[in-house]
């Protein structure tokens, strides 16, 4: 994969920095653009990826290891803790950028649904497992995920016992987590694998630590992918990664590609990624760096082809503008509720396969909410501090620009990363920006970006831009 080196007409610029932050994080602020304008693609990617791998996991709350009884005695119901942690996740997304971008990716890969698990401590443990392996080793990640209490509960590993096997986890391990549906395994492999995964069936205390129980473990001989033995949990993972190395590598790299680059897969890029991840023994970080630094990643053909998830939409707008928000509003709770209403409740994907994204995000119910909720954020910024809209446009285009089209174009490019819009909408945007300003003010030089009306003009223009269909893309 050819690394990207800016040259000639392909100068390193704000748009490319914006593109990186949008895909790897949740949009990019003007100050982040300034920070990296004199840098290079490689240095930016290193900063973001290395930065993410050095962030600690979110500190444990007091209830991180509680069992059922402790929750019941705590005076709050479990929903209280669930909501608390959903809010924490939004806070982390807001603070940690790429690391939580990965958390979202992985929690939509190794799916659990918190309402099914219904144990807040399990949710916390699952969350930090994801955080700590997000840039780690995929094999280790798979291995530990299968023993996470949340997963044992969600996909019935806890119910999978000798003489009474439950195939649910074994199937999803292959179908959803490592190989893909029907790809390199048979029903017999699943049946045998389920037997090998038995034994994690004993609560130390009810809904507390889940222990391995020799007596419910199936000690008989199993044949998995043609290899026969008295296999147990770690054998399954070893055999899987030994026998199906190529398939796993291709499966996970395709998924990474789709998530970070484009829903339309470029097979030559994925095969280069596949090669890397195998060479690196399933370390996640090198293949990500390779992809993100590639010429392909920066190819404008792939710009604005992904439909924003609700979290992208809200956090992307929030982070890129970095505006002050009304103090009396619980931002995290708002984000959590609004994203849920748009179809993305964190830790509660639509099903075990996760959110499929792309066109699934858009229907006649969610689209008006997307308009409304993006607008809601702008309203809250406006109510808090009108002047920040003016300061922002001055920071973006300078104070001397008086060409309306140039100003509108620059704001559009910043918010759309950039994306061409039709002339008809461009005219609308300019008219909206003119807004209440009398025509004479432009003719006689009364108007400038320092005028009092500018805050409202920028506010109205932003409110217009977020309604354009193209705003749904990233």
């Amino acid at each position: 994969m050819k690394p990207y080196t800016p040259s000639g007409k392909d100068q390193w610029n704000a748009e490319q920095i914006n593109l990186v932050f949008r895909r790897l994080g949740f949009g990019c602020s003007l100050s982040e653009i300034d920070l990296y304008l004199n840098s290079s693609p490689g240095a930016l990617i290193d900063d973001i990826v290395d930065g993410a791998s050095s962030i600690d996991v979110t500190p444990a709350p007091e209830w991180s290891q509680w069992d059922n009884k402790q929750f019941n005695n705590s005076g709050n119901n479990k929903n209280y803790y669930h909501t608390l942690w959903q809010k924490q996740a939004f806070k982390d997304i807001d603070n940690n950028g790429f690391r939580e971008r990965l958390s979202l990716f992985w929690s939509n890969h190794f799916v659990i649904e918190y309402k099914d698990v219904n144990q807040p401590a399990y949710l916390y443990q699952y969350y930090t497992l994801i955080q700590s392996h997000a840039l780690g080793n995929f094999k280790t990640f798979v291995s530990e995920m299968g023993l996470a209490p949340a997963m044992l509960r969600y996909l019935n590993g806890y119910d999978n016992k000798k003489n009474n096997p439950n195939e649910n986890y074994a199937r999803e391990l292959y179908e959803l987590f490592t190989l893909g549906e029907g790809n390199g395994y048979t029903q017999e492999d699943i049946t045998e694998t389920a037997r090998a995964l038995t034994g994690y069936n004993r609560y130390k205390t009810y809904l507390g630590v889940i222990e391995f129980n020799e007596t419910t473990f199936d000690k008989g001989s199993k044949t998995i992918f043609g290899r026969t033995g008295n296999w147990g949990y770690s054998d399954v993972i070893d055999i899987l990664f030994e026998e199906k190395k190529d398939l796993i590598a291709e499966f996970i790299c395709t998924k990474i590609y789709r998530y970070f680059v484009s829903p339309k897969v470029d097979s030559s890029i994925v095969s280069a990624m596949t090669k890397t991840i195998k060479e690196e023994d399933f370390e996640i970080l090198p293949v990500l760096k390779q992809l993100f630094k590639s010429e392909h990643f920066f190819d404008s053909v792939n710009n604005n082809v992904i439909i924003k998830s609700p979290i992208d939409l809200m956090l992307g707008l929030h982070h890129s503008l970095s505006f002050q928000y009304q103090d009396n509003v619980d931002l995290e709770l708002n984000m959590r509720n609004k994203c849920r209403d748009m179809g993305q409740e964190i830790f509660s994907p639509v099903d075990v396969a996760g959110w499929q994204g792309n066109h699934d995000w858009i229907n006649s119910e969610t689209l008006p909410k997307r308009w409304e909720f993006a607008d809601y954020l702008l309203i809250k910024y406006w109510q808090k501090n009108k002047n920040q809209f003016k300061t922002f446009i001055q920071d973006l285009v300078g104070t001397d620009e008086i060409d309306l089209r140039a100003i509108v174009t620059q704001l559009k490019d910043f918010m759309f990363c950039p994306c061409e819009i039709k002339e008809e909408e461009m005219t609308d945007a300019i008219n909206t920006f003119i807004g209440e300003v009398p025509e004479s003010y432009f003719e006689d030089g009364t108007w400038s970006l320092k005028s009092n009306s500018v805050s409202k003009q920028v506010y109205d223009l932003m409110r217009y831009l977020i309604t354009l269909p193209e705003f749904q893309l990233k």
């Binding site: 339309k264 053909v301 604005n304 099903d351 994306c419 309604t467 269909p469």
Partner: protein, 535 residues
């Protein structure tokens, strides 16, 4: 994927109930009737359709239409309506820019308008034009922005971000967000930043930034052009999103229907204001059902070279109004449409040094339409000799009184709704006498239905007292403000005399308070309807 957990989908739809939905955001682009739609993924529950809305509304008083014509920038009232009774003083204060007497059209002994406004002279002659003198407000703010805001919100309080029409609709259509009407309540062309139609919860107008845009929507029935997006992935995604937006934005197709149902009138000129008026006319003629339109004409901030600029603007304005009413008259709708000009302020009495005028205060509001049934002046022209320290006139009539009067006398608004709409200071009704007293539909003396019918709120519900002259087949149905029928239709043969019929039985129907309509059909021929408030 075969191994979903059981009951997954079932659980999901329960989880997504809307009870937590914080609805206080506000939809700028509006008209997204889909906002009230309920659909879960692929399974879509049908939206409450209100096909009867416009029927119910237009059978009552709602065939009346109000066109607000915004003169953006501050129209010079003194060169619009010239005071002949203080002409010398007027000419003295404006040596370069006053309209000379030989270029004036006399409206009466005391007032005249410039000849360049002659297009509306026939309307004055035919009793279809009224002028309200000296409209403004106390402590005139001389900023375009702030004063426009005050005219829209009716209060200098910056914390208020809702407009008078927005609050009017918010009070009337309490279930608007969940059950938006099938047609836009109002259409606003240009001036998207103006707050007239903003409520606290949402915006009640379909707003477009330009008439060209509206024309395209009207012609194509879609909000967004979905051609030529390219066939690379980005283009495909744009096509998908534009299609989804077009589908969601349902007002585009009803606007298109009305446009297609009506014919173009070819006398309109090729300019921005005429285009706006011609579109409004097409929607009215096509039966769109939208009751309030706001159009705008900019360029009134005449600090310099006023004579040429103002003449061009007023010529354009008056020609457009003349054409508009000619158009409507040919269609038999002229008496259903009242137009009203307004501007954020008038201009300074004395001219400035560059053949122009600076920001002023009071200015006339002009009303047009045959429904006025008589031309004339309302209020007293402010004196040119007693000016404030900036040299501006003192307003005699508060603009809020004009709004309240138009709402009350033209849109037949309930006092409660007017109270919601007009804040900031208490309005006085000007008594425009446009026939909202209920007599309008009931003046035919040969009718079997006599004298008045009236709905009365009683403890148990609403009763209708009606008196008929001769035995008739009478059908009575009740509708809510969205046009949904409430309860059963009464359909019986009534003997002559007085009857007391139960319209709404509150024991059977737990109805929210608000506005309702009843519709009476006599002998399957004559129809009467009227709105009433359920308290």
């Amino acid at each position: 994927m075969k191994h979903r957990k059981p009951n997954e989908l079932h659980l999901k739809s329960h989880d997504r109930d809307h009870s937590h939905w914080d609805r206080r955001g506000f939809l700028r682009t509006l008209g997204m009737a889909g906002a009230g739609a309920i659909s879960f993924g692929n399974s879509s529950l049908s939206v409450v359709e209100s096909p009867l809305l416009n029927k119910a509304l237009s059978d009552a008083y709602s065939d009346r239409i109000l066109v607000l014509i915004r003169l953006k920038g501050g129209n010079d009232g003194l060169n619009t309506i010239v005071p002949l009774n203080e002409f010398d003083l007027y000419a003295n204060k404006r040596p370069q820019i006053h309209i000379p007497e030989n270029k004036l059209y006399k409206l009466n002994d005391n007032f005249a308008m410039p000849n360049f406004m002659n297009s509306v002279a026939p309307m004055w002659g035919e009793g279809a034009m009224k002028v309200i003198h000296g409209v403004g407000y106390e402590n005139q703010n001389l900023s375009h922005f702030k004063s426009s805001e005050i005219w829209a919100t009716t209060t200098p309080d910056s914390e208020i971000s809702s407009g008078w029409m927005g609050r009017y609709y918010e009070g009337k259509y309490t279930d608007y967000i969940n059950n938006p009407p099938e047609k836009p309540l109002a259409i606003q062309i240009g001036g998207g930043g103006n707050m007239v139609f903003d409520g606290d919860l949402t915006t009640y107008s379909f707003s477009v930034s330009s008439p060209q845009r509206l024309k395209r929507v009207a012609e194509n029935g879609t909000l967004y052009d979905n051609q030529n997006n390219g066939d690379h992935l980005h283009g495909q995604q744009v096509s998908f999103l534009r299609e989804a937006s077009n589908t969601t934005f349902r007002y585009a197709s009803v606007i298109n229907d009305a446009y297609e149902r009506s014919k173009a009138f070819d006398a309109y000129a090729d300019n921005n204001l005429d285009l706006q008026m011609s579109l409004v006319s097409r929607f009215i003629k096509g039966g769109l059902g939208t009751k309030v339109y706001m159009v705008s004409l900019g360029g009134f901030d005449t600090h310099a070279n006023q004579p040429t600029r103002h003449e061009a603007l007023m010529t354009r304005l008056t020609k457009a109004i003349q054409t508009f009413y000619k158009d409507l008259e040919d269609y038999g709708m002229a008496d259903k449409v009242l137009s009203m000009t307004f501007s954020e302020f008038g201009r300074r009495v004395a001219e400035n040094g560059s053949n122009g005028t600076d920001h002023g205060s009071a200015a006339p509001i002009m009303l047009f339409g045959p429904a006025l049934q008589g031309s004339g002046f309302i209020g007293k022209h402010p004196s040119l000799s007693t000016l404030d320290k900036q040299g501006n006139m003192t307003s005699g009539i508060d603009f809020r009184s004009v709004y309240a009067s138009v709402l009350t006398d033209w849109l037949c608004a309930d006092p409660v709704d007017v109270g919601n709409a007009i804040i900031g200071s208490k309005p006085d009704l000007l008594g425009l006498g446009l026939g909202c007293d209920g007599s309008e539909n009931l003046t035919m003396t040969d009718d079997p239905l006599m004298p008045l019918h009236a709905a009365v709120n009683a403890d148990q519900g609403v009763s209708l007292y009606l008196t008929i002259n001769e035995s008739s087949q009478v059908q009575i149905a009740v509708f809510d403000v969205l046009g949904r029928k409430i309860g059963n239709t009464i359909d019986s043969r009534l003997s002559s005399g007085r009857h007391n019929l139960s319209l709404i039985d509150l024991a059977a129907h737990d109805l929210p308070s608000g506005q309702y309509f009843y519709k009476i059909t006599v002998n399957k021929d004559k129809t009467y309807s009227k709105s009433f408030m359920l308290k």
